[in-house]
Amino acid sequence: MAQNANLALDVSNVIMQYPLTKALAGVSIEVAPGEVFGLLGPNGAGKTSLISIIVTLEKATSGQVKVFGHDVARESQLAKLQTGWVPQEIINHGFFTVNEILGFHGGYYGVRDSKKRVDELLNILGLWEHRFKKVKQLSGGMKRRLMIAKALVHKPRLLLLDEPTAGVDVDLRKRLWEFVEQLRRDGISILLTTHYLEEAERLCDRVAIIHNGQIRAVGETRKLIEQWSRKKVVLRLLEPVEGYKNHPDYMSGQGSEWTFFTKMSKPLGELMQELQVPMGNLKDLQVQDGNLEDVFVQLTSATKGAH
């Protein structure tokens, strides 16, 4: 048994070098059991390359990936048994019905009689009425749910969701979020890649921001927001004042309306004291907290990285 067997996923210094480009330049992440971990990054950042290595579709140039202590390169069968994968693109399956597809998938993982499990998933994911349909007869949302059912049929302990809500409507997206939360309650560890930062903020215990094949930041979602984003403070005054432009948090404005960007951890009173705003001159005060989108923009825009 390898070290760190208590980690659901242990990605250690993974490099993926293609002939013309380096997709991953020494990526390391750890996902704890029962954790929902978000991997965020712009297109081409290396998210899908990393997932392809975890599911053994591609072989890393160097580095190591372990799933519950099993090296995906050396103990691939044991690692695969623990892993469920929902790919970014829908798989068509041509000739076969939903029922057959799920039955086959269970069989590939050694589940001799998967009927009970398949029926359970068909019901949970609202596909029971469509079990005799072929993939091409399903709507986009149903296809996405079928991909999730496929990934879960062998009861994996680690689920890889590669942009599961891409291209689905708001209603289905919310239902999928609820389903992910249910999986979390069931103790399944989840690695989620998504473009929807609201989704990551709501679902993920921790997130990693990946850009140009490198992890730019990793940590608890709330702490990352506090560390890397700023809150926006808009000050509206009854009488115009001057002199705020030299304040280090000054962003824009003049006269009777000023905008400041300040650290999330900085108390509002401290800013007010620094600005020495007479309370009688205060017309309105608006505060907008930073969010994951700010973190994302901060860490992925060009070479800027400081806060």
Binding site: F95, E100, Y108
Partner: protein, 261 residues
């Protein structure tokens, strides 16, 4: 949870279901082609062709057509299954699931052999019926064990070759090119319709390098008891071809990409 037999039988069953779901394309069409060959070449033109050993041409043609059906369908089954899976994306499932390369090859090849034997068997029974109605007697099988050996080993060769070509192919065009420019000439020049004894010396020598000649003549020996090639030599060449194509197929599965087009 059983990771030895369950994944293998699941994939084997899936492959059988796949070709049975398109039975018109996979079984009925080849059956119609074989019947037409028998009617035109065997029954109609064959009456004017005289072979050595006083054998009717139809009896010479039937083993060739049976083997041609087996080989063609075995190749088509594995290659079209893999290529269409590459296209739809479900080939990735084979790689992501804990299936071993050997399980994949055995399951795909054995299902392909089953389809080959199904079409080959139908061709044989149509041939037998044609022979009976033409000559008033059944053709029979001289060496059933040898017949089965050549049919199964030959079909396995072509099923494995189908795996190799499908993993190599980057488009449907490339697959068709191999089928049309490599396999078809080898099959037709391997003695399905004529005896190599009738070829000019140069072409007879060239034909001896065609492994299909040995496979087809092995089946001819199994049915008729006579062939252009010694049965032991035919068995050796067929066995070597089987080992070579199996090795290539395993290498392909270990190295090739399973990612979708």
């Amino acid at each position: 949870m059983d990771l030895t037999w369950t994944p293998f039988f699941t994939l084997f069953r899936r492959e059988i279901m796949r070709f049975m779901k398109v039975i018109i394309q996979t079984v009925i069409t080849p059956f119609v082609s074989s019947t037409l060959y028998l009617m035109i070449f065997g029954v109609s033109l064959g009456k004017s062709i005289v072979l050595k050993d006083q054998l009717p041409y139809l009896s010479f043609l039937i083993p060739g057509l049976v083997m041609m059906s087996c080989l063609n369908n075995s190749f088509q089954n594995t290659s079209s299954s893999i290529v269409s899976s590459k296209f739809s994306g479900d080939l990735e499932d084979f790689k992501v699931a804990p299936l071993t390369p050997w399980q994949i090859i055995l399951a795909l090849s054995m299902a392909a052999v089953l389809r080959g034997l199904l079409v080959g068997g139908i061709t044989f029974f149509v041939g037998e019926a044609s022979y009976f109605f033409t000559y008033g007697t059944a053709l029979g099988v001289s060496h059933p064990f040898a017949l089965l050996l050549f049919l199964i080993l030959g079909s396995l060769c072509f099923a494995n070759f189908g795996v190799v070509v499908a993993f190599w192919a980057r488009s449907f065009d490339q697959l068709s090119a191999v089928s049309g420019f490599v396999l078809l000439p080898l099959i037709y020049l391997g003695g399905v319709f004529f005896s190599v004894e009738n070829l000019p010396p140069l072409w007879r020598s060239v034909s001896l390098y065609n492994p299909l000649l040995y496979m087809i003549n092995g089946v001819r020996y199994g049915i008729l008891g006579v062939a252009d090639v010694e049965p032991q030599r035919a068995a050796l060449v067929t066995l070597l071809a089987f080992l070579l194509t199996t090795g290539l197929a395993v290498r392909c599965l270990k190295r090739a990409s399973f990612q979708r087009w």
